[in-house]
Amino acid sequence: MEREEVLKKITEIARDVFDNAEVELKEETTAADIEEWDSLSHLNLISDIEDAFEIKFTLAEVSKSKNVGKLMDALIKHMGEKR
């Protein structure tokens, strides 16, 4: 899956979790940029991404990914491990 495609897919998940169809994710987007993105919805987002891509983030990736790009790095790494 191309990086762009991954971004598209997690944007869809984020729109669903944040219940806001306007949400646009970019590589540099952080939680501070999106009003609905709090510590609780963060966990929902992580859990839905894990289920959708059938991967599991590590504790550090969940708590330390500073922006969407970093989260995608981790995600793509796990997807590679699956193969």
Partner: protein
């Protein structure tokens, strides 16, 4: 089971009706559980408002009479003391006091109960404890009082004993969820360290189900009655065809499965659940195993109402419900046959109809997992209402009300086929002639060799019938053998049909096809005969019902040119 995502989506929805209030208090994060419970309650139609107190606020909330939890005026307070936290506390204790750990936690919990009873009228939902074994001494931990594995098990036992003394405390068995799912699914370590959530997101729906089940029981929504099919549900095989000596029941082979299933049903009966039978059978045949088979666990005295006839099951269940005078939503209908299950589900949406697994070995585990029989009280054994209902049934003998099932039959999308005998089917056809006793007009038995020679004999006209519908393929379900009397006339030597497809238009379809076949071959008249046996009384008037003319007792004729097709909902295979 619903996913957490589905529950989250419905967590803001509210079911209609009188709203009950539930407050959550825990030493771990309860927000996600609150979300899951809200969603689950909505999907189960339980009007519920959930208050979730901040993380680790148990004592301040319970001690202060004006706390948020008490001001919320809850009907129930759920106390969730997570084992993970207890384990950390345990390890911080000095080893000498560890053997007293369970007792000290128990006295703290009893203090919580006392505080709640003092400040509120709420019922208490008390979670028991999941298990952690840190393998400090390996298996040996089990017999050393200062290990956590020993103390947590002791605590669960003490908790059960203490709850038994308190009327307003209701257990919530999260331990059984852990056992059901296994640690791999139940825990999510990163989630615990990240968010103080000691249960994985995917395990939350199971915990929410347990909570909702208890709340439903507290609201009076309980199951009171199980309605049971017989053949291939209570025993293996078909009593009408196999006979009492050949059905599978007892400790040997597959019979063991059915014996254990009956043991569990008997246990339900002893816990106050009413057992009823609803079977498509002759009543006397259906009762034979209960009266004569030495290895049946259930006896007629265990069955409150015994309904065995050839009417449709939805009508029979209505009869049972009226006689017992209980709500349809308090009944569970157990039947191995998908056709019957779907008919009942469609005609009576309120009744619970579990989608049984195909393998009878899996019935028990599946039904137990559904947790249908949650209760909020137990009066002990001896409250046997079975006899009472038996008497009531004898007195009233309500007339069965026939419902129109035509719409249902139409919706099934049934597809039938009638073909002359072919080689690959000989053994199945022979087997049917040997085994079918009930829907069998003359009960002539044939071997495979007989069938083969009949198939090749120009003096015979043969047809075998298959049926499928949107729920599955029933395979070869009917056999007709017609013998040539002369150039104009045929005699129906054999007509048999599997009882699994009874009363859904297959009888009509079979006759339509055989008359068409006779017409195609240039015959003018078709003769039929009914020969009575001990088991085939269900078909004694079938020729008359299908429009044949009676010429003498049990002998009938149909004029092929005057035949009017019998109505049914079975379409011809393309």
């Amino acid at each position: 089971m619903y996913s957490f995502k589905e529950l989250r989506k419905h967590s803001k929805d509210q079911a209609e009706g009188e709203i009950k209030k539930l407050a959550l208090l825990g030493n771990v994060s309860t927000q996600f559980l609150a979300t899951a419970i809200r969603g689950y309650a909505f999907l189960e139609g339980l009007p519920l408002s959930v208050y979730d107190a901040d993380y680790n606020q148990m004592e301040p909330q319970l001690l202060d009479p004006d706390s948020e939890v008490y001001c919320f005026c809850p009907d129930c307070i759920l106390l969730w003391i997570a084992t993970d936290k207890l384990y950390e506390e345990f390890l911080d204790l000095s080893p000498e006091v560890r053997p007293e750990f369970a007792a000290s936690v128990m006295s703290k919990i009893m203090m919580y109960w006392d505080l709640i009873s003092q400040h509120s009228g709420a019922n208490i939902l008390q979670m028991n404890f999941t298990e952690i074994d840190d393998k400090a001494l390996g298996n040996y931990s089990c017999k050393v009082g200062s290990t956590f594995a020993y103390q947590i098990r002791k605590l669960n036992f003490m908790l059960s004993e203490s709850m038994a003394t308190r009327r307003n405390v209701y257990p919530l068995d999260i331990l059984s969820v852990q056992i059901q799912l296994g640690n791999g699914k139940f825990y999510d370590a990163p989630l615990y360290y990240n968010a103080k959530m000691n249960v994985s997101m995917n395990a939350l729906p199971f915990v929410a189900k347990a909570v909702t089940d208890v709340l439903k029981a507290l609201a009076g929504r309980i199951k009171k009655c199980v309605v049971l099919d017989l053949d291939n549900t209570l025993w293996g095989g078909i009593i009408g065809d196999d006979g009492v000596d050949n059905i599978e029941i007892g400790e040997l082979g597959r019979g063991h499965v059915f014996t254990d299933f009956q043991r569990w049903l008997k246990e339900l009966k002893e816990c106050g659940i009413i057992l009823c039978v609803c079977s498509k059978n002759d009543e006397s045949t259906a009762k034979e195993p209960f009266e004569q088979h030495g290895e049946m666990v259930l006896r007629l005295s265990d069955i409150a109402l015994f309904v065995a006839n050839w009417d449709d099951k939805a009508a029979n269940i209505r009869l049972i419900q009226k006689t017992l005078n209980i709500g349809m939503d308090s009944m569970v209908f157990i039947d191995d046959n998908p056709f019957e299950r779907n008919l009942v589900r469609q005609m009576i949406p309120e009744i619970e109809v579990p989608e049984l697994p195909e393998d009878p070995a899996l019935y028990l585990g599946f039904l137990q997992e559904q947790n249908y029989f949650e209760t909020a009280s137990f009066t002990g054994t001896g409250s046997d209402r079975t006899k009472l209902y038996q008497a009531e049934f004898e007195r009233t003998k309500l007339k069965v009300s026939f419902e129109t099932i035509e719409g249902y039959l139409e919706s099934l999308g049934m597809i039938g086929a009638a073909k002359p005998f072919e080689e690959s089917k000989y053994s199945r056809i022979a087997q049917l002639t040997q085994r079918s006793n009930q829907f069998n007009l003359r009960t002539v038995r044939y071997t495979e060799a007989d069938i083969q020679s009949i198939a090749h004999d120009p003096d015979y006209v043969t047809l075998y019938y298959t049926l499928k519908d949107r729920f599955g393929d029933h395979g070869l379900v009917g056999v007709v053998i017609m013998k040539k009397k002369n150039g104009d006339e045929l005699f129906i030597d054999t007509w048999l049909m599997s009882c699994r497809v009874l009363k859904r238009g297959m009888e009509e379809y079979i006759v339509n096809c055989l008359i068409r076949e006779a017409r195609k071959l240039g015959y003018k008249r078709v003769y039929g005969e009914y020969i009575q046996t001990a088991k085939n009384s269900m078909v004694k008037d079938i020729y008359k019902e299908m429009g044949f003319e009676e010429i003498s007792e049990n002998n009938y004729v149909m004029d092929v040119d005057k035949y009017k097709e019998n109505k049914n909902y079975i379409k011809e295979m393309e």
